[in-house]
Symmetry: C2
Subunit: 353 residues, 2 copies
Amino acid sequence: MDKRITIRDIARRAGVSVATVSNVINGVNKASDGTKKLVLQTIKEMGYQPNLTARSLSINRSQMIGVLLPIDESTTASLLLRDNPFYGEFISGVEYQGMMSGYDVLISGFRPGQSCREWILKRDLDGIVFVGNYTDAVSSDAKEFGSQLVLVDSYDEGLEKHHSVNIDDVQGGYAAAKHLLDLGHKNIAIAASNILVDGAIYRRFCGYKDALSEKGISVRNDFIFQDSLSFDGGYRIGLRILENIGQISAVFAVADIMAFGIMKAFYENGKQIPRDLSIVGFDDIKTCEYVIPPLTSVHQPVYEKGITAVNILIDAIKNPDIPKRNVLFPLKLTERGSTMNFCERRLFSGACL
Amino acid sequence: MDKRITIRDIARRAGVSVATVSNVINGVNKASDGTKKLVLQTIKEMGYQPNLTARSLSINRSQMIGVLLPIDESTTASLLLRDNPFYGEFISGVEYQGMMSGYDVLISGFRPGQSCREWILKRDLDGIVFVGNYTDAVSSDAKEFGSQLVLVDSYDEGLEKHHSVNIDDVQGGYAAAKHLLDLGHKNIAIAASNILVDGAIYRRFCGYKDALSEKGISVRNDFIFQDSLSFDGGYRIGLRILENIGQISAVFAVADIMAFGIMKAFYENGKQIPRDLSIVGFDDIKTCEYVIPPLTSVHQPVYEKGITAVNILIDAIKNPDIPKRNVLFPLKLTERGSTMNFCERRLFSGACL
DNA sequence: ACGGAAATGTTAAACGGTTAACGAACATAT
DNA sequence: ATATGTTCGTTAACCGTTTAACATTTCCGT
């Protein structure tokens, strides 16, 4: 409960003006070495910490950046952060890089109907990292006040107009399907959420389609399974695939979590992965290594995305006129035990076609 | 890039003094209904947002709270947040409750050698939620500046002196072992990290011991397996258990992630869960539902811990003199498919002893 | 009609920094 | 000796709020 020590206390004790103390702190070269030493010494002795709130007010910059996370629409209450390990990992990257660059990180859910203008303005945020599907409102909000903006995971819209960090979903989808094709599979289903709603999912689908058509295979409508992007959604799709078990030998699930649901459905019905179905997931969350068999999945660099977003943001804060940067992370498939060669699989039940 | 609108602009436009505008904003009842309406109207028209930085400076409170997260000691670089879904879930609770109470949330890793005094001082933080093993330095830092402190997951030390939120590890460990005992198991191993190092783990062990001795069973030293608190650690323990497969029929893993490692070791060696080994985990992370069989686990309310911590913190901020509160969440076991009755299991291989 | 309280405002000094503008002291060049 | 420039500092205004202290008007009881 001590009285807070201010720059004036330092000035008084050191016998100089507050301006001089301020200059020393900020490295403005306007003090003799002697004075500098004296001031620094005094600061140390008194355990003085400059107050960033006051500084913010004065220089109109806060040295804080914000992360806006999507909300779980179903509850409006909790962040997706709660249920999806992704966001924690992402924030970790943001926090680390922010800290390294001297910025503090504020987090918040971006609740519908809310404007980020409010948030930026209230706290004088120097910039924000916006995760998820961005709305035009967001960008105009940011621009209006000299705050910088980096979009993450919202590839589609207005990409050129903003800084952005994305993963190459098309290529990822392609890699997934390609892997299955290389294993000799021809009848490859896809498990997804509504393909037309979510841009990222649609792009993964496109990659899948590309890989197939490269081999002269066209996508069969009845091989496109759509349900909610969740374990339960995957489970339901798993049951539907089981009905077509003779025709489908492999499936590309556009999210790991759906893949787990499919695996569950299969096990419950006495089928085995990968003997009865090869599965490749997408995201490569830690759980992929824990399940049995471990899930082959398209790896996405979540932590690195956080780091990169902050790097771009801070560059932009320091120099608002740099051209927009749009980073697209290439994706690589991590092969594990949930996929196997189509022919070898046939060895269990007969000859290879 | 517009000029920011300040309280003076509002005052000018509405033809009143800034003090009046301020009063209206803060609900101080010093203005006539007419004036109030006028001011509010003007605020809306001009899209004015009070600047919290300036307010902070003025009232010496920031309406911000901080969350200090433990760092992964191995890297010092990244947060544990990166690898452990826990923290994301926890932060989600903190963010939600903070938002509901009008506080913004700042997050940071608590890096060794750092003092939180600096952080509190710099940003005028009203309070902080400290997660993990706390050091005395933290508390004196906080106290010194009227900042409030809530300790999370650091049951042991100086509990009475601070607000705290913890889970009842002893009871959780007890519940885990009890469940296995109730299923008829007698030779129950425990998989843990070094029992003497981490207080929480030690308490879980104590609960396990209590349950056993209640049944007249004493803990066998060769049934205590210790390794790193990770999937790999669990895997190694799994291999060691396999060597004693005749003797051990069940295991309590003090963290889900270790349980998954054990399961993996068993499957790789052609053994089946729960037929050859009943397993109960601890934490009940989402993954428990995804693995096959789904893991029986002691559920811990991570999100609620976040909510509760913030509630206590804000109470303490508003009234610094309230007595210290120490919340201890009771734990409940969630039964799933990784455990089975000892006798039924014997049906596979012979008679029930 | 008068005094005092209540209601409604205003003024101006904080809060803890930054920084433009100014100035003194001293060295150097002419 | 004078002009010119550096070096080292100070003064004071400002950032956008809050709030104590004061001022004016209105209301009410007697």
